[in-house]
Subunit: 234 residues, 2 copies
DNA sequence: CGTGCTTTTGAATAGTATCAAGGCCGGTGG
DNA sequence: CCACCGGCCTTGATACTATTCAAAAGCACG
């Protein structure tokens, strides 16, 4: 809670607040915000808990997970620096999903009341948020299409490209900047971990990727796009 | 284009504008808005076209459709009175989906520039829109979970309940207020029309529904919930 | 009373999940 | 330093679910 990085010294150029708040409002937020550090695997908020405010990722990566039937899960979204988590309009709402850190993560938390004040006085900021949600909605709609229409191979090719798009990869060798387990890739695509393993094996044979320990190296991104191009990915 | 219903005489209590705009702004919107009537099957906007503004449904029902591979489609959302269609942040964007009327429909269209003005001067309205999108995002995430984890029978039970939730049903006999083809129900759930036909047959045998001509009558809603309850539907 | 479209039903096939066993790797403790 | 343990990953065999293809039945419309 202490050891806050002040908004002024924060170098996240993806933060909505910094982009669109007037400086007196940044001061107010500065005063109100709570900063939280998480390690990989830590829960940021939990499905079913009450919504108390909004979370901005200042540093790190997270997954947004929905519990399904029989211990299955679905990763509905991946989030990284600058992304917004956990905002749900009405304050009596409960979270329909959980957010879990995928790496060491720093989060800025702003409570509902402060947030409301900020919105009412910073229309451009509110507008940015409209656009953020509108964009996320579109992305979710598109992924929904993928998940219902693609076969297993296509889903996994798409997942790899999706992970790269959100979290990026090493410029030199193409290693994805996050390491997910087979089960997590399965939860991202709605297939079984066994299928993920099989397909990754296939992809390696076809020289599209190289598995190295925990990580995955994309060595032929075009080849992966080729697999999913008929869905208009990219 | 003529024959406009003015915002003042419009009795839609679901309209964001009426809910949160000051009356001088309602006058401005009144002046700028374009009202369009569509028949069932008409296209409201088309995937790939440029985004020029925002559409509010004043009356009627619509489906939001994404083209998939090999002539498959996915209905990503159903929309009814008061819902917002087609808003996509940046004005250079193209529509990622099409909107198609499911019944006779009246739409109010507001262009991007007017909309921007309205937002900058009506923070509560903008906030309502944030909440609308946030809610739609959540609903889409939840349906995404359903579509990836449910089997065919479950998907179709869920689809029937979903349709009822959005469009409603006759209070007396439970007939859904919209009539979709088997193919449309299939596109809503990501299965084939044949499966929809088979499962509806099953549901009728089990006295959960009655098929009457084009329409579907839900006679045992609890029974349908029972099928999908392990996913937390409802 | 055809004609064309949607729906229903059936049978064959393909794709996935499930179950089970064995291998690999990193961490821990002797 | 090495052996062991546990978790994750891989691979194979099997069963099942859903798609595909095909054909017939139902229905609206001219």
């Amino acid at each position: 809670m202490n050891n806050k990085i002040s908004c002024k010294e924060c170098n996240s150029d993806a933060c909505f607040i910094k982009q669109q708040c007037s400086s007196d409002w940044i001061d107010k937020i500065e005063f109100k915000k709570i900063q939280i550090n998480h390690q990989a695997e830590d829960c940021i908020f939990r499905e079913g808990g009450y919504v108390e405010g909004i979370y901005f990722i200042q540093h790190g990566n997270a997954k947004i997970v929905a519990r399904g039937a029989e211990n299955r899960e679905l990763i509905v979204r991946l989030a990284t620096v600058g992304h917004v988590l956990g905002h749900r309009g009405s304050r009596d709402d409960k979270y329909p999903v959980s957010a879990i850190a995928l790496s060491d993560t720093t989060i800025c938390f702003i409570d509902n009341d402060t947030l409301y004040d900020v919105f009412m006085n910073n229309p451009k900021l509110t507008l940015l948020l409209v656009e953020f949600y509108s964009r996320e909605l579109r992305k979710t709609e598109i992924r929904m299409k993928y998940l219902t229409q693609m076969n297993v191979k296509e889903k996994i090719a798409e997942a790899l490209l999706f992970i790269k798009e959100v979290f990026g990869a090493d410029d030199d060798d193409g290693t994805l900047n996050v390491s997910l387990t087979r089960q997590e890739i399965a939860d991202l695509t709605g297939v079984t971990a066994e299928q993920v393993s099989r397909e990754l094996g296939e992809f390696e044979k076809k020289k599209l990727i190289i598995k190295k320990g925990r990580g995955i190296k994309l060595i032929d991104e075009k080849g992966l796009y080729e697999i999913v191009k008929k869905y208009g990915v990219g």
